[in-house]
């Protein structure tokens, strides 16, 4: 089921690509025709049952969907909160990112584009893109901040194994924000042959909408699975971590029109909704961490995938209308949650969804007796070496921490 409508709280954006006052299309003229073409191509594809069918067949047969919902018995008992996990960590390549990437690369194929560029933070979107490009036989270039290359070496090697070229972003904070800049510069220079496979619900219209639609499957599945498990009910609270906000948008979309409370969890050092003000960067208007002059500030988080000073425009809108609330947790809380889930449930989470769990732990009093669904957006294999180094007191690894 992929059809949306404007009567939904998370329905289609308006014709200018806006969710309320946020979104839009702020890109150099060189890219405008490509954005318009992409919007048309996505609309056509998404309304074409054969495209939708092929997309879901790929997600199931190649990506490993549907992902289960797991009940956390020991953790629930310990916290006094009934906790369910939507297991996006079990997808091929280890995170939710594959949903969006299969959608975009399939669309690229349909549009006749043979070269894919992407940005990546933690490397999960880069790995997923490299994977899909290998699957379709497309050329793939991934931009990654130099700092992230250092802290996610394993993912760099995985991308290279998959045949992608990883190019370091050497400017600015040398993290995700700068990788987006480099990918956009590449796209500005190669727009006629290249498809920009953006990794989250950000960027110019139609990306925030398109990426959310490709992740809608998370929420649709979870809605049905929860009803099955809860005797027809939905959870009281749905929680997801928010970097750009794609895994959150995916799971929220399945519950936006229900009574479930929606909570997005940001890192304290990159809380765009929590501490940002409206601004425009990377193609859309949203909440943005910036100084008085409008210079974008650098985010700081132990998790490379959430190290981003902006947030997808639809989240800014959901916050504005009060449909979702956004909370922040610090790196120390995140590491505690990371270890707690490993010990109590035998699941090593990625550092990103560990943010969601950290908030649940912190809010356990408020949540007592409630049922909470957490989007387990990825597995922790990629983070194990970093956490090991932090625990061993390695000074370089400690620098990635903001206690």
């Amino acid at each position: 089921m992929t059809i949306t409508n404007s009567s939904s709280v998370m329905g289609d954006p308006d014709t200018s690509g806006r969710f309320g006052q946020f979104g839009g299309r702020y890109v150099p003229e060189t890219l405008m025709p490509a954005c318009l073409e992409l919007e048309q191509a996505f609309k056509n594809a998404w309304a074409d049952p054969s495209f939708v069918k092929e997309f879901h067949e790929l997600l199931n047969g190649y990506g490993g969907r549907p992902s289960p919902v797991t009940e956390c018995h020991r953790l629930s008992e310990q916290l006094g909160v009934r906790i369910l996990l939507k297991r996006e960590d079990l997808n091929h390549t280890g995170s939710h990112k594959i949903n969006n990437v299969m959608g975009q690369t399939l669309l690229a194929k349909r549009m006749g584009k043979t070269r894919i560029v992407a940005e990546t933070g933690a490397g999960q979107h880069g790995v997923a893109t490299a994977t899909a490009a290998a699957f379709f036989g497309q050329e793939c270039v991934v931009y990654m901040g130099e700092v992230d290359i250092e802290r996610q070496k394993l993912n760099v090697f995985r991308m290279e194994l998959l045949g992608a070229e990883v190019r370091p972003a050497l400017s600015g904070s040398r993290t995700l924000k700068d990788a987006v800049n480099e990918a956009m510069r590449d796209w500005v220079s190669t727009v006629e042959s290249t498809f920009y496979c953006l990794g989250s619900v950000m960027g110019p219209h139609p990306y925030p909408w398109m990426v959310r639609e490709f992740h809608r499957v998370i929420g649709n599945e979870a809605n049905a699975q929860c009803k099955e498990l809860l005797g027809g009910d939905v959870p009281d609270v749905v929680v997801a971590c928010v970097g750009g906000g794609s895994n959150a948008a995916g799971i929220f979309s399945g519950f936006a029109d229900t009574d479930a409370e929606l909570v997005g969890v940001e890192p304290a050092g990159g809380a765009a909704v929590g501490s940002g003000i409206p601004g425009v960067v990377h193609g859309s208007k949203s909440y943005l961490m910036q100084d008085e002059a409008g210079q974008v500030q650098e985010a700081h988080s132990v998790s490379a995938g959430l190290d981003y000073p902006g947030v997808g425009p639809e989240h800014a809108h959901l916050a504005d209308i009060g449909r979702a609330r956004y909370e922040a947790v610090n790196d120390t809380q995140v590491l505690e949650a990371f270890e707690m889930l490993a010990r109590t449930e035998g699941i090593i989470p990625a550092l990103e969804p560990a943010h969601g769990l950290a908030w649940i732990i912190a809010a356990a009093k408020e949540l007592a007796g409630k049922t909470v669904l957490l989007n387990m957006s990825g597995r922790g294999d990629k983070d194990v070496a970093q956490v090991q180094a932090i625990k061993a007191g390695d000074p370089v690894a400690l620098k990635t921490m903001r206690p």
Binding site: G172, R185, Q295
Partner: protein, 268 residues
């Protein structure tokens, strides 16, 4: 089809560029990054005018300049790290009296953050005639245009090789000051050769507007400037100027280079 504006009165920049062009001059518009090099950059304002620039584009550096290549990125980063802000640059600009129109080039968030009306007013107060906001698309520019118009600030529009004919038409209609033809599909930076697309976009624009048509991005030396001006009314040269300042060069070297560009265009 040529659009002739009969009823319109032109702003300061467009009036100035039209009169020089109509007198047979090819237009030279250097770009400099405001606040770079820190102590001496304001000398480039008067210096450019003396060296023969017809107008000057001054960058208000932004943290995430997606249209810019490594050269302009580096100058922006240096200016920002030495404390340059949009207002501090405009305050310095206000003290210059170069006798040629000045144009502020920056990314939209700088304008949006200050507020459209305040930004337009800050430009006017500093004696800046026009703005170039490369990431503010035709579709998104209405609120800015209104504020700019009420402060009599002109808005230069970018036209790209990828823009279709219908978009080009809308772009030239929306532009004031001049039309900025992007010379290639890409970001700012020097190129060995002038791209074929520079001539193509110049021809396409000249065929539909009598507003001044200047070509920038990838115009790197006097030879290329002359070549593109066989079709266009003028050129914008940025990275080639900035590189001369970055390479441990002096303000004088950059000004000499602007003089060479002037000579190159006048010989053509």
């Amino acid at each position: 089809m040529t659009t002739t504006d009969t009823t319109q009165t032109y702003g300061t920049l467009e009036t100035h560029l039209r009169s020089r062009r109509d007198a047979g001059q090819k237009l030279l518009l250097p770009y400099i990054t405001g606040g770079f090099p820190a102590e001496e950059w304001t000398q480039l304002i008067d210096g450019s005018a003396h060296a023969g620039a017809d107008a000057l584009e001054i960058g208000l550096p932004f943290s995430d300049p997606v249209m810019d290549g490594p050269t302009i990125q580096e100058s922006s980063t240096l200016a920002l790290s030495q404390g340059a802000t949009p207002q501090s640059i405009l305050d310095q600009v206000a003290m210059a009296k170069p006798g040629i129109p000045l144009i502020a080039m920056t990314y939209y968030n700088i304008c949006f953050r200050m507020g459209h009306r305040r930004f337009a007013n800050a430009l006017k107060t500093a004696g800046v005639s026009a703005a170039i906001l490369p990431d503010l698309s035709l579709e998104e520019m209405a609120p800015w245009r209104e504020s700019a118009a009420s402060e009599k600030v002109e808005t230069v529009m970018l036209a790209a090789p990828t823009s279709g004919d219908a978009r080009l038409q809308k772009i030239v209609e929306a532009a004031s000051g001049f039309v900025y033809g992007v010379g290639l599909v890409g970001i700012t930076g020097e190129r060995q050769e002038l791209a074929e697309s520079a001539l193509t976009i110049a021809k396409r624009l000249k065929a539909i507007t009598d507003k001044p048509v200047l070509i920038g991005v990838g115009v790197s030396n006097p030879q290329q400037a002359r070549e593109v001006c066989e079709v266009a009314d003028g050129v914008i040269v940025g990275s080639a100027v900035i590189r001369r300042l970055l390479d441990g060069g002096s303000v004088e070297k950059a000004i000499d280079f602007i003089g060479e560009l002037r000579n190159g265009l006048d010989k053509g």
